[in-house]
Amino acid sequence: MAYADAHDDHGPQSFWTKYVWSQDHKVIAIQYAGTAILVGLVGVALSNLMRLQLGFPGVFKFIDPEHYYQFVTMHGMIMVIYLLTALFLGGFGNYCIPLMVGARDMVFPFLNMLSFWVYLLSVIVLMVSFFVPGGPTGAGWTLYPPQAVLPGTPGASWGIVLMLVSLAIFIVAATMGGLNYVTTVLQARTRGMTLLRMPLTVWGIFVATILALLAFPALFVSAVMMLLDRLLGTSFFMPALITMGQVSEYRGGSPLLFQHLFWFFGHPEVYIVALPAFGIVSDLISVHARKSIFGYRQMVWAIVAIGVLSVVVWAHHMFVSGMNPYFGFFFATTTLIIAVPTAIKVYNWLLTLWRGDIHLSVPMLFALGFISTFAIGGLTGLFLGNVSVDIPLSNTYFVVAHFHMVMGVSPILVVFGGLYHWYPKISGRMLNDTLGRIHFWVTFLGTYAIFFPMHYLGVLGMPRRYYAYEGYEFIPPSALHLNTFISVVAFVVATAQLLFVFNLLWSLKYGRASGPNPWRAASLEWQTPDTPPVHGNWGPHLPVAYRWAYAYSVPGAPEDFIAQNAPPEAGGFEPEPGHDTATRGVPA
């Protein structure tokens, strides 16, 4: 079947159908990524506004408690949902999956296009909440009732409504996208591309998408029920209460029901962010250390195990919620069990570096930064998962430090690493190396300086989500000075991100031409006939995969990598299951 025939379903393409209403996964990926990065910059700005108040309390008169809690809430929701989830699944997922599995596009291109525009709509609805009477909600990203819909919390009249509507719209978009990613992985792999030959990037995004499809419904359920409580007077989550001196009409509802539903979504959500990061970083380390990822099958099983286990740990967010205390035993146990496959992954990343051939490119810098920051973020999770250790630490800065390290810092370092890594494929040019290194060092060292000391503020007992800490005797003045220091570092780190945005745009025009495979990587996406790949990706013939994606430094091979679609005579096949395969390093 000639290549031309496959695409006679398009008439001549205009600018609009090629770049705006595009059904090409690569264009959609860039649309997702661009929107996510823009909204992420808003999230960074909001965090800086928070830090202005925390570092210089009372100095900035426009930051009163109402605005402060609105900044806190919108910062959290934007970063978790509208930046990280959209970027990993909609951005990286859309771009990488078809190319890495050898497909021409996603299996439902029209639905894929719709999913971006619905996501954009959800972002717009969220931004509109800044402008409604009462402003956006200030209930914390966790939106706990009853406070989220009662006076006393900012945005309890309209802000919360728009937030919940925006989330519902986002969930529709995520479902449309998720159907695509899962079905494409299951159905559109090219010849020879078995599931166990796919790069770990695809595995991470694939399992994360399955989690997303099963977990977002819980957020949808809680959002719909809270909307009904707020707008139509139902009492799903609202017990009998008296607010601001008025006895309310609500009766019988359960705030804990919301928390169970929210965290049934919320915990898998953090793995929806983390699993793609795990997959991508495995590929970054492998390519830039010229060594096959250590224990590929165990890495796959670890991703699957983490995904499955993540569904049964949610109530570790509720140890002090007042739920049945005996649940604490169960959830502490499952939470600490999930540490085992996670630790295996860390060991395997380290063992990939071991006896590798480490090129310290900018992607590798970010990958190493990930290992270090994920180590600390993951290890502090062991404190919080162990129920009795969690009791004094819950809702303190220890929690804030933990989740920023493990969700805000390490996956973001992977986002950067992945963008530096794949930018040449997307655009045909390299990102500027010097700017990249400055960006890395400021971000890596800066986020350490911000979040490492924060753990200690949490152990001290400083609670989170506080507008001000004046007048508490147990908080020494040095802690307030530390807050000022952290704020200043945060402003510097935020500014450095502008360097990255500048680099992205500048390099489009002035970046050094990269050629088709500057990193000399083996996976399929680097083997496209055109760079950037054209519509349909592969030209007249789809590639055939003869081996796994990690044929690096194969003994006896002329080069230190063998492309996945190189002819079978080139060797480099994946290890037989159940057998150990190892040889000593062979000089080139």
Binding site: R104, T183, T190, T194, L213, A218, T234, S254, L261, F264
Partner: protein, 221 residues
Amino acid sequence: MRGGEALLRSTGVPRDGHEPPRGFEAMRGRPRWLIDPVSVGLWVFMGVATALFSLFLFAYVMRIAGGDAAAIAWPKQVWLSTALLALAGIAMQRAARTGPSRDEAAARRALIAGGLLAMAFIGVQLWTWSILSQAQVRLNGNPMGSFFYLLSAMHGLHVLGGLAGWAVAVHAAARGDDARAARLTRLCARYWHFLLFVWVVLFAALAGITPELAARLCGVQ
């Protein structure tokens, strides 16, 4: 030709109406996945919807264990709507049946009937709502009422979504694209059975899981 089909074409595989596209064989003699992507996509979506309704049911049990829920006398119309949905499923199954004895005209009639009966189901559900609201069962107040309206509304939305797919199938049949119509009808039939299953489970829960039973399930006295 739509994007999905262009994709299938581009794998260099001949495609006819009945035989599912091949071409994704793995090396090493692994079994072939003989399913088409839209079918897989529908299974995945059914998984998502199952998660959604399961979570609604979990919320239902947890909420009515609270002690302020009172049982509701279900109007007879609910049995009527359930029967209509079952009939719709039967009609769809008849429409989807393939084989040498297939009578195209009868299949087309059955397809139309399947859609009309689903629409009738929605109509009777709305009728049930109006009867309940006249009996002072409101959305706010008794949580049994809240959940009935909420769960039937969610289910109804999913039926409406199915009707959108049905409309595409009918359009394909009207245009004479029999292969596409047959494929879409099979998928509609599967989805109709799923909708019936979900509705039966929801209604069984609303009618059968009393506040006392829920309290015992939740370990609350």
